[in-house]
């Protein structure tokens, strides 16, 4: 008796899940669009408070990690296990760098009395309050996705080491990669909308 692996089905299932994620973040971006329409000036003012340096650095870190994840899949498809392991470890490290940057970024905001329900935001302009509210919700939810993505990549890493993910069967790594790229996709929109608004 042989078991047949439906790799297209596995992938389609993952994509359907990703569609729900796209709609989830899409809803938040709709909220952003509507409030941006009402408070464009305040959004620009709020955006200037965010660190362009950390924003740009995190964009570059995520783009590079997306590349290394895609390359690790190429490596496993070519049967280069060590190469794949190395690239996955590098990608997970990139995820860590992203989160550490985020920690410093949020920490600096907290220090300047900018956090949900802080005195400065509650007593200040509603536009600024809404901007930072959206900033915390969207980057927070995105950060959560980074953590989940790193977890999936770590599980894939262990499975590659244990030879459970191989040249013939790599659907788990493929799907973890798709999730990681989704995290990257969302950040590509977050970056200009929050850090670079004029």
């Amino acid at each position: 008796m042989s078991t047949r692996v439906d790799s297209t089905g596995i992938k389609l299932g993952m994509w359907i899940f990703l569609y729900s994620e796209i709609i989830l973040f899409g809803g938040l971006f709709v909220l952003y669009a509507i409030y941006f329409y009402d408070y464009a000036g305040y959004f620009a003012e709020g955006g200037k408070e965010l660190s362009r340096f950390f924003g740009s650095l995190n964009t570059i870190v995520l783009l590079i990690s997306s590349f290394t994840v895609a390359a690790s899949i190429t490596a496993i498809q070519q049967g280069k296990k060590k190469m794949s392991i190395g690239l996955l470890i590098f990608s997970i490290c990139c995820g860590c760098i992203f989160l550490v940057n985020k920690y410093f970024e949020w920490g600096a905001k907290f220090h300047h009395d900018i956090y949900p329900n802080s005195e400065r935001l509650v007593n200040g302009e509603p536009g600024i309050n809404i901007f930072f509210g959206l900033y915390y919700v969207i980057t927070g939810l995105h950060g959560l996705h980074v953590i989940i993505g790193m977890t999936l990549l770590s599980i894939s890493l262990v499975l590659v080491i244990r030879d459970k993910i191989t040249q013939e069967r790599f659907a788990m790594l493929d799907n973890s990669g798709l999730y990681w790229h989704l995290v990257d996709l969302i950040w590509i929109f977050v970056f200009p909308l929050f850090y670079l608004v004029l």
């Binding site: 297209t8 994509w15 740009s56 895609a70 990669g177 929109f189 970056f191 200009p192 608004v197 004029l198």
Partner: protein, 95 residues
Amino acid sequence: MGAHEEHHILSYGKLAAVLAGLLALTLVTIGVSYVDLGFWNVPVALTIASTKVTLVLLFFMHLKYEGKAITWSFIATIFFLAIMITFTFWDVAFR
């Protein structure tokens, strides 16, 4: 799709070229953000972001090499996302 479906393997070179394109577009979007284009600020930023996203989707997520089921379901999702965004926006803009 038969039992022996071929997996398309992307070469490192091609992936690196995509990464180079993405990093270049990141620099462009940062550069453009220092220039006040008035009304065009947001459309330009979103166009660059959409181009980057398309690159990630087509190559890193190998959407370019997938079958009809994934391609069309993806297009349908983007279609509904567009409806969600534009209809909500119209409601607010022309209220």
